[in-house]
């Protein structure tokens, strides 16, 4: 849950308009995905990681976020090395299997791995420097359907509430010998998830009643937008142009 809340509020990047950050991130992301090679992706990953370091992100948060993508990079790399290509790099025997690593597989694996690292780091910069409601306002500006943004806002708000409920139910079950063996664990988990759905139903009824009393007519009033600053436009154009030149090289 800490991952959902973390935001580097005192970093200079946090003061830039969320729309600008989102747009630049999406453009650079497309460049990363469409680049055939490794250099540009490693550059984006390095720049993004430098920015993340300058935000003074706690190591625990950083490792939690990057552990899963790193595992995927490892899986893809090994899969590609031993499964793709014709030109052998080296070979060895392990547990009765004869393994050969291929040069083309290594190249492809590194390309995919660097793409994943670049994309993950880029997204991390955006998320650490932008609070959730501002990100939603930026999505709304990009004409993402209003209904979907409302759903996201409700979901984000109630993840914490329902997670807390889930923890209370879980502790109560543990205190009453829930999760003691496999069968019991399964039944306890079923009751927990079923109770969460019931809680969600009840909370939604309470929430909608409260909102209707305050004038809700089916559409939530969304965000106030301020005009872009010229410095923001200049900076975003500069970043996109430089990245475009590097992408083209």
């Amino acid at each position: 849950m800490h991952l959902l809340e973390y935001y580097a509020s005192d970093h200079w990047l946090s003061r830039i308009d969320a729309r600008v950050k989102l747009l630049v991130t999406l453009i650079v992301l497309v460049m990363v995905l469409s680049y055939r090679g490794v250099g540009f992706q490693l550059l984006v990953a390095a720049l993004s990681l430098t920015l993340i370091m300058s935000m003074k992100i706690p190591w625990r948060i950083f490792l939690l976020r990057f552990s899963e993508p790193l595992l995927i990079v490892l899986v893809v790399l090994l899969l590609k090395i031993f499964f793709t290509g014709h030109d052998p790099l080296f070979s060895f025997n392990i547990l009765g299997f004869h393994l050969t690593a291929y040069r083309e597989g290594l190249a492809e694996g590194i390309a995919i791995g660097s793409r994943i690292m670049a994309a993950i780091s880029l997204m991390a910069v955006l998320v650490y420097a932008t609070p959730f409601p501002e990100l939603m306002a930026a999505l709304s500006w990009l004409k993402v359907p209003r209904g979907f943004i409302e759903i996201l806002l409700y979901a984000y708000r109630y993840i914490f509430v329902l997670f807390e409920e889930a923890m209370v139910i879980y502790q109560a079950q543990k205190n009453r010998l829930g999760y003691a063996n496999f069968r019991n664990r399964l039944s306890s988990f079923g009751i927990l998830t079923g109770s969460l759905i019931l809680k969600a139903f009840e909370q939604s009824q309470t929430l909608s009643t409260a909102m209707v009393q305050r004038g809700y007519d089916g559409n939530m009033p969304l965000f106030q937008r301020r005009p872009f600053r010229s410095s923001e436009i200049f900076l975003s154009c500069l970043v996109v142009t430089v990245m475009g030149i590097l992408w083209g090289i």
Partner: protein, 352 residues
């Protein structure tokens, strides 16, 4: 040049995927090249648009529908982050939760719910990604929700029991999700290689966790639907999972059965002989002990009525004699509060 054994590759993917099964459910950011990422977005878009259309339609009829869908998205988010134990694989894995959302709110809106949960996971937990959101929505949202919904409806239409239908819906929704994820992964990372061999290997690598996990997700989906049916059938009617007529018919059948058995059973029971007559009396006769009249025959005259009357009189007398001990003297003395009240307070009360 020797080729590497395919079995080893399967073991490699499976072995590395086991410790963190979220690897399997969400395709990571950047894993798919641009053309495949765009393709899966294009596939997901019509389903998503249909979901938004249905959402707006339903929320114009019922103002509480959007908050409900938002909270369902939060539940799907939490469910798909929770580890559950997988037998045989000896590890934990994550359910999808799309089977239950497909059943409850319909497949189109379930696609929107999945997209919302996946977007929050991609942004904040790095499970999945923005570029792979289309692929993840297709595997989890479209395949999971539609398979779950269609399985549930098809089985219910041929009068299959609700728990069994929900179990099958959860099972197939889970398996369909991982089937589609295998297609997407194999297509995305094959490079210049052939699609089918890699697809089979990825699919087989998922089997140790996903085959039993599907069964567990089926059991959980069934448990959830049955829990809702028992505790809040009105919600299932509201979500159009069951019809009011269905609940009324089941209720009427239950009432009829209760009346039938409560009326018929005593009458039937009176015709049956008890263990005393069948066993004890028979053995006693065999040993030469014939039955004789009881010393006090309770079945003759109004003796039981007389005994109850006497008991009532004695009980009433005792209760009346000791009523102060039983009731009045248990609480605080009745007049103490008034006696201890200050003269000013008493004057104030009188004045008011």
């Amino acid at each position: 040049m020797k080729k590497v054994a395919p079995g080893f590759v399967i073991a490699l993917i499976g072995g590395l995927a086991l410790p963190q099964n979220a690897v399997a459910m969400h395709i990571a950011e950047g894993l798919l090249p641009f053309n495949w990422a765009a393709f899966w977005f294009a596939v997901a878009l019509p389903f998503f648009a249909w979901g938004i259309y249905r959402l707006n339609q339903r929320s114009s009829e019922d103002l509480s529908f959007k908050p409900l869908v938002g909270l369902m998205a939060a539940v799907v988010f939490i469910i798909s982050c929770m580890p559950i134990p997988v037998p045989f694989a000896g590890t934990c894995s994550h359910p999808c939760g799309t089977g239950i959302s497909g059943i409850l709110v319909g497949p189109a809106i379930s696609v929107v719910i999945t997209a919302a949960a996946l977007l929050i996971q991609a942004l904040f937990l790095a499970h999945g990604g923005l570029s792979t959101l289309g692929a993840d929505v297709v595997s989890m949202g479209v395949m999971g929700s539609f398979t779950g919904f269609l399985t549930f409806r098809a089985l219910r239409s041929v009068k299959v029991n609700m728990a069994v239908a929900a179990f099958m819906a959860g099972l197939f929704a889970d398996w369909a999700t991982y089937f589609m994820t295998s297609v997407e992964l194999a297509a995305g990372i094959r490079g210049e290689g052939a699609f089918l061999p890699l697809f089979w290997k990825v699919l087989i690598a998922f089997i140790p966790t996903q085959l039993p996990l599907g069964v567990l997700e089926g059991a959980m989906t069934a448990g959830m639907v049955v829990l809702l049916y028992k505790k809040r059938p009105d919600l299932l009617i509201k979500m159009r999972v069951i019809k009011a007529r269905e609940v009324a018919v089941i209720g009427a059948v239950l009432i009829a059965l209760t009346i039938f058995f409560s009326g018929v059973a005593p009458a039937e029971a009176s015709k049956w002989t008890g263990v005393d007559e069948v066993v004890i009396e028979k053995i006693a006769k065999e040993q030469g002990r014939e039955p004789r009249e009881p010393l006090i025959n309770m079945e003759q005259g109004d003796l039981p009525l007389f005994i109850f009357l006497v008991a009532g009189v004695v009980g009433g007398f005792a209760a009346g004699y000791y009523w102060r001990v039983l009731i009045a003297e248990k609480g605080p003395p009745l007049c103490r509060g008034g006696a201890e009240r200050s003269p000013e307070a008493s004057a104030k009360i009188r004045g008011s």
